[in-house]
Symmetry: C2
Subunit: 330 residues, 2 copies
């Protein structure tokens, strides 16, 4: 059976904001499987902020995305051909299939998708973003019951899980998000204690009012002035899990100007990348999958239709246009 595969390649490195023309759509034949290989037909592609960092040539924690190759990305899909007995035809698998319809794998790095949650959730609350939330909150933030946890980008795939896990641990969860619609969603649908619109003129006063006992844990996804404002409210021995600096991707200023609290409040800041900590994934996924299956961990998805929509959806993600997990349905 001869198949073709549509792929989005990285055509050039972005200058500032990502443009549709930074990507190129191609269609290529799929080669025959070697012994041990399998072919996955992707159902969903995950779009995540980390991809923006990979598009640059600058030194980062991972090698840059090569030009002229399919964009990397997490996928969930079905095995449609197999010469690998671990993954028979019909298996549902999670992996790094990339921005394309099909991918060939030798099985390394593939995980069977749990059957008690919808497949798309394996890319969100019960996938990499969920484990990111779990790791930063529990292993760096280490919140104790009664403490206050603040999370930026609270309506996103990671932030939405952070606040809910904090609530489940007996903490006050305060989100920060862009615009009243997201803030309403975070409080009313996700159950945070409060959510603040960082674009509002009274943001700093609203933050102060929302954390009457100060802030013990900050889960930071954005950087810049919002981070400074939260640092000013942190309690002694506070912890900052530094997960992302999405404000800086397109050249916004992410300087930390309010440095003195780091010293005077003896704050811990720890940058982290969830893929450094594969040892915690089984425990984290067990908790997250169980919570989703039990209806105790809520999530929202923004789903773009068709592989062709991936660049536009990704640009929207970087601008904060999505609510919850940004996916592409293939």
């Amino acid at each position: 059976m001869s198949r073709t595969n549509k792929q989005w390649l990285l055509a050039r490195r972005p200058q500032g904001a990502v443009q549709p023309a930074d990507f190129e759509l191609v269609e290529r034949p799929v080669s025959a499987l070697a012994e041990g290989q399998l072919l996955v037909q992707h159902q969903y592609l995950s779009l995540d902020p980390y991809m923006r960092g990979r598009m640059d040539e600058a030194k980062s924690y991972a090698a840059p995305q090569p030009l002229g190759e399919p964009m990397i990305g997490g996928t969930v899909g079905e095995v449609v051909e197999s010469r690998n007995s671990s993954f028979p035809v019909g298996s549902l698998v999670v992996g790094m299939g990339g921005w394309q319809q099909l991918s060939i794998s030798d099985g390394r790095g593939l995980m069977p998708a749990p059957r008690n949650v919808p497949p798309s959730v394996c890319l969100g609350a019960a996938g990499m973003p969920g484990v990111t939330a779990w790791y930063g909150l529990t292993q760096i933030g280490k919140p104790r019951s009664g403490e206050t946890v603040v999370v930026s980008a609270a309506a996103g795939a990671v932030g939405s899980v952070v606040g809910q896990l904090a609530r489940l641990r007996g903490c006050r969860a305060v989100g920060i998000a862009g615009g009243p619609e997201k803030c309403r969603h975070v409080v009313e649908e996700l159950g945070f204690d409060a959510c603040l619109d960082y674009r509002a003129a009274d943001f700093r006063a609203a933050l102060k009012a929302a954390v009457p006992g100060g802030v013990d844990v900050l889960f930071e996804n954005v950087g810049g002035g919002v981070l400074d404002a939260v640092l000013a409210r942190m309690n002694a021995f506070g912890r900052v899990a530094l997960c992302g600096l999405i404000a800086g991707y397109d050249g916004q200023d992410i300087a930390i100007r309010n440095v003195r609290p780091l010293l005077t409040s003896r704050i811990l800041v720890q940058g982290f990348i969830v893929s450094d900590h594969l040892e915690v994934w089984p425990e984290a996924l067990r908790e997250l999958t169980g919570l989703v299956a039990a209806g105790k961990l809520r999530y929202r998805e923004t789903v773009a239709q068709g592989l062709e929509s991936a660049p536009r959806a990704f640009i929207g993600l970087l601008k904060g246009e999505n609510l919850g997990k940004q996916l592409v349905k293939l």
Copy 2:
């Protein structure tokens, strides 16, 4: 026996740089001792950067220095009258006697001075600054043999100990200091592998050349542009012990502009105050006193003569005019 006591009071809070007129010298009679009290005649007063923070009214880790009261400060001195059997006349004691010739104590917070090092060293390498170096390096920096440790204000009371302890643990020790004289002292007398003059035009290039394997641990006393430059050279999973931000005391900009490495290199930053960690003092002082007594930990002192000289010496300390530990000999 009626005695009088000269004291430096905090007369007003500094506006920007500290001025001599921020202090007032007074002479007061010493009251009679109550049961359990003792009178210490100070031999040395310690001057330290933390005092600058206390002079402000801003929220910090400790209450502000009250106006109209003797400036706080560490002292070593001899018990000259005693109604406390734990500290008989003739005892040599280390405590927080303040900027004055004499202090009355009930013994709480006093420590007997070790007899195998000169008394002044109990305020420096084998005192609070030494323990500060020990704590930040060993408990936050956690350097492994072969790693590279960078310390700013390397010619100061804390920095000079950091680099020597790092060398004793098999690390490469690179100092940063102001001016060629201090840098020469740090390398030739203290035995650091290198020391860089942050005022030199080629500072960034010199830093890059001095840390060919990158930086694993930064012990930061200063803040500002020098911190940014070192962050750019840090290795993955580097550690920053944030001990001081002396650049900021008089209103200099201490913003961290180079924030991305905190995330991409998964750096730990931990602000700390040594007085939070009294549990480590015995172990730290045992090591430090032993090293000084054995001639394995070198130190330099800058000694101002007479209580009257304290404000000028303190202002000089804030400007970096001292080499090593700044003391006042009473």
